[in-house]
Amino acid sequence: MMLALFLFTTPITAVTNQAHSAMKPPEDHRACLRCHAMKTLAYRDPLSKKIITLVIDPSGFEHSVHGQLNCRECHEQHYQRYPHSERARAPLHCVKCHEDGKKQAQHQSNHQPPRQYQFTTIEQEFKRSVHATSDEPDAQDFNCHSCHNPHQFQRSQIGKPLAQVVRDDNAICLSCHEQRFDSLETTHAWLPRRDKHWQAVRCLECHTPLSTTGQPVSHQILAAADSKVDCVNCHSQDAQLLTRLYQYRSQEDVARTGFIAKAVFNDAYIIGMSRSPIIDFIGLLMIALTALVLIGHGWGRYRAAQQLSRGSQ
C-alpha cells in the first residue's frame, strides 16, 4: 500500500541501459517493463491520498535479492493484458514463498550464506508490532511491502558504511513518518541533538525490543509508549541496543584501519566511552602529553645523573 516515496528516493536508470548488464534479466521482463520501467508510472490513491508507485527500476531490480526471478514466478496470473484484471490487485505475501526450510536448503546448496532471518519468526514478531495492532486508519492493510520493496530489496551487507545503513533503514520509517522531520515536532524533544542522533542510530534501536530469537533485529515495532526513552541503553558499557548496528562493521575494515583507531574513532565511538570524538581526542592528547612529560623527566634525570657521575670522577 505504501511503497510511496520509492518513486522519489530511488534514482532509476533508463530501461535501455539494462541490455548492457552482464546479468541478463530473465526474458519475460521486457513485456512487463515496457510499462513498469516508466519512471513516473504511479498515481495518487483517492482514498489514502498516498502515492502508489508501480515503477520497477530495472537496474535496481536486477541487483535486488529477487533479481534473478521471472516476474511471473511471483505474479502468476491476471496480467495478460493492459489494463490488468481486478484480481491482479490481490496482495502477495512473502511468507508464501519463504515459509519453510526449502529455500533455506536451496541457499545452502548454492553455497550462499545462511539466512539471518526466519520468515515465520518475522511473521510472529510482526503480528505483535504496533503496525499490525494499531487501530489507526493509516495502519490498515499494513504488510511486508509497506516497508520492503520486493523489487529493490537488498540485504544490508557487512562492510556497508554504518552511516549508509542508518540512512537507508531510517528512510523506510520516514517514508511514512515524515512528520518527524518537522523541526517543531515534540515527540523526540527529549533527545539532545535530535538530528545528530538520527544520523547516527536507527529508529529501530529504540523502537524494537531486543530480539530473543537470535535474529539481528526484531520486526516487532514498539509503540511510542513502549519504546526506550533512556540514554543508558546506548550510552553505557553494556549498550545492547547499539551493538546490533555494529554487526555490519566488517572485520576486515576493523583490521585495515587498526583496531584502536576503529574502536576509538569509528563512526559511532566505542561503547561506554565519552561518545564525543573531541573529548576522546583531548583525553588521548592528555595521556600522550603526560607520557611525554614522564619520559622527558626520566631522560633529564638520567642525563643529570650521568653528568654528576662524570663530574665526580
Partner: protein, 725 residues
C-alpha cells in the same frame, strides 16, 4: 658627513609628483567618462537622448482628484461585486446584489484602490512617471528563490532587467552556438537578446524598428492618408527614442532622462489606457507615448494577467486573437498596426487556457524576484533570461503525477518520463499561426492600406503548424530545439530532417497555390523553385556547405543533443524569406538584413526598405572594425561562421552588394507552453496507424514504430518476444 640621515618623507618628490599626475589623469578620465562619453557614444551609434514629456501627465485640481477617486473606487467595487455574483439568478437579481455589495462597509474597505489614499495623503496630484513611483518605492525587498531577502534600488533593478535592456551578457543560457559552445559560457561574453536580433517573426530589429509612423491608405478611406504606429517599442517599457543601446557596452549607463521614460504603469496599473500607446514625433525623433494619467496611477494594484497580457498576448494568441484586449484599443491616434499572423498562436486567456480559466496568474508560475522574471530553464530561442537557473514548469504545481481521473491514470503519469505535458495538452494552435512568411514579396492589405509581408502558409494544426521533437532544454543560436531519442541514436537528426522539410501534401499544395497567387503580382517567380526552396530550404545550400553542415552537426551539436534526458515536446515551426548578406553566410544561414518599416509598408518595395534600414548609423557601425571585434566575430562563431564577421558594408553607391533573398536554412522551432487544454489527447491519437506522432522521424526503428502504432500490441503482455535492438 656624519650627520644623521634626514627624516625621509614617505614618498620621494618624484613619487609624489607621479602620484599627483596619476590622480589628475584618473580625474580627467572620470570627468570625460561622465561628461563626454555619453554624447560621444550617442553620436557614434546615431542615437538620441532628450528629456521626455508626455501630454497626458497633467496636474489635477483637488476637486478633480476626488472625482477621479470616486469613479475609480466605484469601478473597482462594481467589477469585484459583479464577479462575485456572476452566476447568481437572473440579471435583475444580480444587479440588486451588486448594488448591495458595493455599499457594504467591509467590501468598500477591502476594494478601494490603495493608491487613492496614499496619493491623497502625500498630496500627489500629477503622475510624473518613475519619479512619482520612486518617491515611495526607492528601494524594494527582493526575495530570492533560496529564501534570501535583499533590499535593492528599485530603479537599478528594473533598468538592469531584460524587460528594459532586451539583452543580457550573463551566462547560464541553454543556448548553444552551431560551433558547439554554450553561449556566453566562456570569458568572452557578448550582449545577446532581442536588441540585436530579429524578432521571432523577423523583419527588423529594435535598433532600426523601434518606432515608426506609417502612412496608410485604406481602401475605404477614399485616398485619405491615415498615420499608423509600428515598431518593437510598443511592447517594451522604455519610453525613449531607441532601445537601451548604452547597456550593450561594458561601460556607460542609460542617461537619467531615458530612465525617466520608463513606463511603470503598463505593468502596475489596473486601468491603463492602451489607446495612449502610439508613436509620437517630437523635435528629436520618434518615440512611443504612454498612459501617464493620474487615473492610471491611482489604479496601481498587484500585477495581474491583464498587465502582462497587454504586451505578451501579442506573442501568444497574437494581435488578431479575438480575446486580445490590448488589440481592441489601438490608439486614440496613429493607431498601431496589427500583426495578423500569430507568432505562436497559443493564447493565454480564460477562453483558451485552462490555467487562465482557473484564475491562475502569470506570476504564479513565473515567480518574480524583484523585477527579474523567470522564463524557465528550458530555452530554445536566444532571448535574454534574467533568471536562467530558476525553474518554471508544470511539475512545480502538478508534481510528476498529475492524472487523477482517467482509468489510465498510472499509465498517463508513466508517459511523463518521455512526453512533456504540452505534447498532449496543446492539441492545436490558432489558425493564423504563421509557418512561412515571405518578406521579399509583400502583398497589399486593402483594409489596412499598407503592404504587408505575405504569409505563404499558416496552420495551427498538428503536423503542419507544429510538430514534435526531442528536447532536453538546449537550443541553437537560431532557435532549434535540441535533444535526442533516449537511446542516443544517430537516426534522429532534426536539423537535417524535421526542421528543413515540409512534406505534408496538403501544406505543399497550399504553398504552391500561394506561390501561383504571388506570381500574378511578381511574374519573375518560378513557382516550382519557390515551392522547392520553401519546403526544402537546404536545397539552397551548395554541396560543400551541406557537407560542412552535416559534419558540424555531428561534431558540435550531437553531444549537446545527447545531454540530460530528452522528452518529446511540441514546437511551432517557422521560416521566413528575407534579404541576406551573403558575404556572411555559413551552413546554417546568413546574416539577415532589416527592413525600414515605414518604407516597406508604404511602398511595398522591400529592397528600398532594406537600403533605408542599412543607412541607420548603428547598422553602418555593425560593418566597422570596433563592432566586429567587440561582438560580431563572436556572434558569427555562434552562428556557425567560423572565419569571423566580414565587415563589407552591403550598400555600395546606393546599390545592394552580395544581398540575396533566401529562406532561412532551417525552420525555427518555438516552444509552445500556453493555450493549455484541460483534456489531453487519447492513447489512440498517437498509438494508431494514422496517429500524430512520426515515430521514425523521432529516431525509432521501423519495427518499434510499427509496434507503437498498434495499441493492441502495446496492451498485450503475453507475446512472442522479438529481439528489438
Amino acid at each position: 658627513m656624519n650627520d644623521p640621515a634626514p627624516v625621509k618623507p614617505l614618498l620621494s618628490h618624484l613619487a609624489q609628483r607621479r602620484l599627483l599626475i596619476i590622480s589628475g589623469i584618473l580625474l580627467i578620465v572620470f570627468i570625460a567618462y561622465r561628461l563626454f562619453y555619453p554624447p560621444l557614444f550617442d553620436a557614434y551609434v546615431g542615437k538620441t537622448n532628450a528629456p521626455l514629456t508626455y501630454a497626458n501627465s497633467q496636474t489635477v485640481t483637488p476637486q478633480a482628484f476626488e472625482l477621479l477617486a470616486r469613479d475609480l473606487s466605484h469601478q473597482a467595487r462594481y467589477q469585484k461585486a459583479a464577479a462575485i455574483v456572476a452566476t447568481d439568478q437572473d440579471p435583475f437579481a444580480r444587479q440588486v446584489k451588486i448594488e448591495m455589495l458595493m455599499n457594504t462597509a467591509s467590501f468598500v474597505r477591502d476594494t478601494e484602490p490603495t493608491h487613492i489614499k496614499y496619493f491623497r495623503q502625500a498630496g500627489i496630484r500629477r503622475y510624473d512617471g518613475p519619479k512619482t513611483c520612486l518617491g515611495c518605492h526607492a528601494t524594494l525587498q527582493v526575495t530570492h528563490s533560496d529564501g534570501r531577502i535583499e533590499t535593492v534600488n528599485t530603479l537599478d533593478d528594473i533598468v538592469n532587467s531584460v524587460h528594459f535592456k532586451f539583452q543580457s551578457t550573463s551566462s547560464g543560457f541553454s543556448t548553444y552556438g552551431y560551433d558547439g559552445r554554450a553561449v556566453n559560457s566562456g570569458q568572452r561574453r557578448i550582449p545577446v537578446g532581442k536588441i540585436d536580433r530579429a524578432c521571432g517573426i523577423p523583419g527588423s530589429f529594435t535598433w532600426t524598428g523601434w518606432a515608426a509612423l506609417v502612412k496608410s491608405r485604406p481602401d475605404n478611406a477614399q485616398g485619405a492618408i491615415e498615420i499608423r504606429s509600428e515598431g518593437c517599442g510598443q511592447c517594451h517599457i522604455g519610453g525613449n527614442y531607441q532601445p537601451a543601446t548604452e547597456k550593450m557596452m561594458p561601460i556607460g549607463d542609460v542617461p537619467n532622462e531615458a530612465k525617466a521614460g520608463l513606463d511603470c504603469l503598463i505593468c502596475h496599473a489596473a486601468n491603463y489606457d492602451m489607446n495612449q500607446r502610439y508613436v509620437i514625433q517630437d523635435e528629436y525623433g520618434l518615440r512611443w507615448n504612454q498612459d501617464r494619467s493620474l487615473q492610471a496611477a491611482l489604479s496601481v494594484a498587484p500585477v495581474t494577467n491583464d498587465n502582462c497580457l497587454r504586451c505578451h498576448q501579442h506573442n501568444m494568441g497574437g494581435d488578431a486573437y479575438i480575446h486580445n484586449q490590448a488589440a481592441q484599443n489601438l490608439g486614440e491616434k496613429h493607431r498601431r498596426l496589427l500583426h495578423h499572423g500569430a507568432k505562436r498562436g497559443n493564447p493565454f486567456s480564460p477562453e483558451d487556457d485552462r490555467h487562465a480559466t482557473a484564475g491562475i496568474q502569470c506570476t504564479d508560475c513565473h515567480i518574480p524576484e524583484g523585477h527579474k522574471i523567470p522564463r524557465g530553464r528550458l530555452g530554445v530561442d536566444l532571448v535574454a533570461n534574467d533568471l536562467p537557473n530558476k525553474e518554471v514548469s508544470c511539475e512545480q504545481c502538478h508534481s510528476q503525477l498529475p492524472h487523477n481521473h482517467s482509468k489510465d491514470k498510472a499509465l498517463l503519469n508513466g508517459h511523463i518520463t518521455r512526453l512533456a505535458c504540452e505534447t498532449c495538452h496543446i492539441k492545436q494552435l490558432e489558425e493564423n499561426n504563421v509557418v512561412l512568411r515571405d518578406w521579399v514579396h509583400p502583398t497589399w492589405n486593402a483594409e489596412e492600406g499598407v503592404f504587408q509581408p505575405t504569409d505563404v502558409y499558416r496552420s495551427g494544426a498538428v503536423g503542419t503548424g507544429f510538430t514534435f521533437l526531442w528536447f532536453n532544454g538546449n537550443g541553437t543560436f537560431l532557435a532549434n530545439a535540441l535533444g535526442n531519442h533516449p537511446n542516443h541514436n544517430l537516426n534522429y537528426n532534426p536539423l537535417m530532417q524535421q526542421m528543413v522539410r515540409i512534406d505534408d501534401a496538403g501544406a505543399i499544395a497550399a504553398i504552391r497555390a500561394k506561390a501561383q497567387e504571388l506570381k500574378r503580382q511578381y511574374p519573375e517567380i518560378d513557382v516550382e523553385q519557390y515551392v522547392r526552396t520553401a519546403t526544402d530550404p537546404l536545397s539552397q545550400l551548395s554541396p560543400e556547405l551541406l557537407a560542412k553542415r552535416q559534419a558540424m552537426i555531428e561534431a558540435n551539436l550531437r553531444s549537446v543533443m545527447n545531454q540530460g534526458e530528452s522528452r518529446i515536446y511540441p514546437f511551432k515551426l517557422f521560416n521566413a524569406m528575407m534579404y541576406e548578406d551573403m558575404g556572411n553566410q555559413g551552413p546554417f544561414g546568413a546574416m539577415i538584413l532589416p527592413f525600414d518599416y515605414a518604407s516597406y509598408y508604404e511602398t511595398g518595395d522591400p529592397k528600398a526598405a532594406v537600403k533605408k534600414a542599412l543607412q541607420d548609423p548603428i547598422v553602418q557601425r555593425m560593418y566597422q572594425l570596433p563592432f566586429k571585434l567587440y561582438m560580431m566575430d563572436e556572434f558569427m562563431a555562434y552562428f556557425g561562421v567560423m572565419d569571423g564577421w566580414q565587415p563589407n558594408y552591403p550598400l555600395v553607391n546606393g546599390e545592394l552588394k552580395r544581398v540575396e533573398a533566401h529562406w532561412m536554412r532551417q525552420m525555427g522551432t518555438l516552444m509552445v507552453n500556453h493555450g493549455i487544454q484541460g483534456r489531453g489527447r487519447e492513447c489512440k491519437d498517437c498509438h494508431a496507424l494514422n496517429g500524430i506522432m512520426n515515430y521514425e522521424a523521432l529516431g525509432y526503428s521501423p519495427e518499434r514504430a510499427a509496434e507503437l502504432r498498434d495499441l493492441d500490441v502495446l496492451t498485450q503482455v503475453e507475446l512472442p518476444f522479438v529481439d528489438r535492438k
